[in-house]
Symmetry: C2
Subunit: 337 residues, 2 copies
């Protein structure tokens, strides 16, 4: 049986394995530092569809299909999907995964959804609710800009604190069959609000939530930062990274030597004009699949803490003057030999 540890975490005794994963990204992501690592790089960000939203749906479908192939699992053998995206009413997920014909739990945790979906997928497998389950998330630069900021045609300027929503989808097949990497624990995040009201500075909005979840993970599991080869946040970017490290130092914890952020890794901000870094549900999902999982599979990393971070706002809440709270969900991944 699995155990509740501390106040917000679970340790899985029969920890589920990651049987396979896939990453599919857009053109700009393919031109970035991780370009050679993704499974598929699209040549056209519409991915053959008529709208940005349909393109994002196609990303999810393709990522899921590819992950099934790599895991050597048939779609009929997937008991549940845990999926989500950033769009209102999760339409990328609905229309992307419909054809798979698999029971679906739709999730919304903003850009933390990659962590939320992996957490619930691991909980389901560890409890014996499914032999295999699928966790999948996506984001798309153009559908997100339309949803949250301005239509691309408006060509607004972007402040330096802004991040660039990643066009991409990452899919993960979890199951009981032995493989190289296990999800050994999770730390589920609370909504944390520091009163940030700048929707162009998501890193600052999410850093307190990342701090809270990382601190709680270390406390619940009685670990030090050095017990992880890497502590990897989702999409804080350079501005959020600085804040996170400072906030944890105030609590007497120094993660500076082990911290990485998917949003910082995925783009070269100097040449790619991405300002503070990449963001979006897809950002952490594709970076985990393409960059970090292979290192765990080889044993280069023995244990990492993966902490996708989400900024909880909508255009409605923002325009009504609400703050932008954050949430972060932690997932412990370990090399299984």
């Amino acid at each position: 049986m699995s155990q509740m540890v501390g106040s917000q975490s679970i340790q899985f005794d029969e920890a589920p394995y990651i049987l396979g994963s896939a990453s599919i990204v857009g053109k700009k992501e393919g031109e970035g530092p991780l370009g050679g690592l993704f499974d598929v790089v699209g040549e056209d960000d519409k991915f053959g569809e008529d709208t940005w939203e349909e393109a994002e749906s196609t990303l999810q479908k393709e990522a899921a299909t590819l992950a099934l192939g790599k895991a050597d699992v048939k779609k009929e053998d997937i008991r549940y999907i845990f999926g989500g995206d950033l769009l209102g009413q999760n339409i990328a997920t609905t229309f992307g995964l419909m054809e798979l014909n698999i029971p679906l739990f739709g999730l919304y945790g903003a850009c933390s959804t990659a962590g939320e979906s992996l957490s619930l997928a691991a909980m389901a497998v560890a409890a014996g609710y499914g032999e295999h389950v699928l966790a999948v998330t996506s984001s798309h630069f153009a559908s997100a800009e339309k949803q949250f900021r301005f239509p691309l045609e408006y060509a607004n300027q972007r402040p330096l604190s802004a991040t660039w929503t990643v066009t991409g989808s990452g899919a993960f097949i979890l199951g009981k069959r032995r493989a190289k990497v296990r999800v050994t624990g999770i730390t589920t995040g609370k909504v944390v609000d520091y009163g940030i009201k700048d929707s162009m500075n998501m890193g600052a909005a999410m850093a307190p939530a990342a701090c809270d979840t990382i601190y709680q993970n270390l406390t619940d599991f009685q670990r030090q930062p050095g017990d992880y080869d890497k502590i990897i946040t989702g999409d804080l970017g350079t501005v959020g990274q600085g804040i996170l490290i400072d906030l944890l130092k105030e609590k007497g914890i120094d993660i500076s030597s082990v911290h990485m952020d998917c949003g910082i890794e995925i783009f070269d901000s100097e040449t790619q004009n991405t300002n503070a870094g990449g963001s979006g549900c897809g950002c952490s999902a594709v970076t985990l699949s393409a960059l970090f999982l292979p290192k765990l599979e080889k044993g280069t990393y023995k244990r990492i803490l993966f902490v996708p971070t989400g900024a909880l706002l909508s255009t409605v809440s923002f325009n009504e003057g609400q703050s932008v709270p954050g949430i972060a969900h932690g997932v412990v991944l370990e090399y299984a030999g």
Copy 2:
């Protein structure tokens, strides 16, 4: 240990109990046939807030707080919240539940979210991931109209097939401590698309999904309709009810004598001008809490199948010409003596 049964269901051997629940609704719901049953009826649909969205957040917070009181559980003893609403990026949930300071899994299943949240809450408790968890959902007529259709000020006419979004929130505390009602099983729904493109006829869009989930539930558990005292859909309304009963008859199953629909129960459509009935995440949640749970607690009903139904669309997907697929999540509730 719990068992997977059939292709989409779980039977909980150590079935979680519903320790308490609460319902809070708006003025119009209070004037309807169930008016005397709700825990709280607001006199003003803004519930003391400045915006409809903040009002909906207040509904969730109040419902959750009231349910905790009725269950005699402290908020510090709730391990997880499974919550959601209909608004873009789940803002009613985020801002409503933030103060509770409890780890949150944000969900989106349109109006099926009441079923999704109860399912995941039951899965979590049955697996030993938490002694107590909270499932909460909401909807608000005014925030939903603004989100999905027209601002109230526009005063558009509504077709007879249209439903009326319920202003309300229902909250449920699940746990291991013995109580009168248990969640003994779940059947998780797939996205089902019959190509309906009329956003004013949600009942027709959702009926095929309800049919699919009910059929699968009966198959997986090897039950007949008569094995349930009631099979209760969320918000099909009168139009959707007729379609559901016909679709199941085509499969050789007659649920007409046991079927009820929360959307039909909550309003008197003749005097309240609600056309096909009530709808929204809040509709099924408050009706379960106020009308059906008390009958289970008294043993009037021994076993019901509760099937909240969701129409998966956004204004973006609708305006881009996409169909309105449905999803429905089944929850089996039994009198525990």
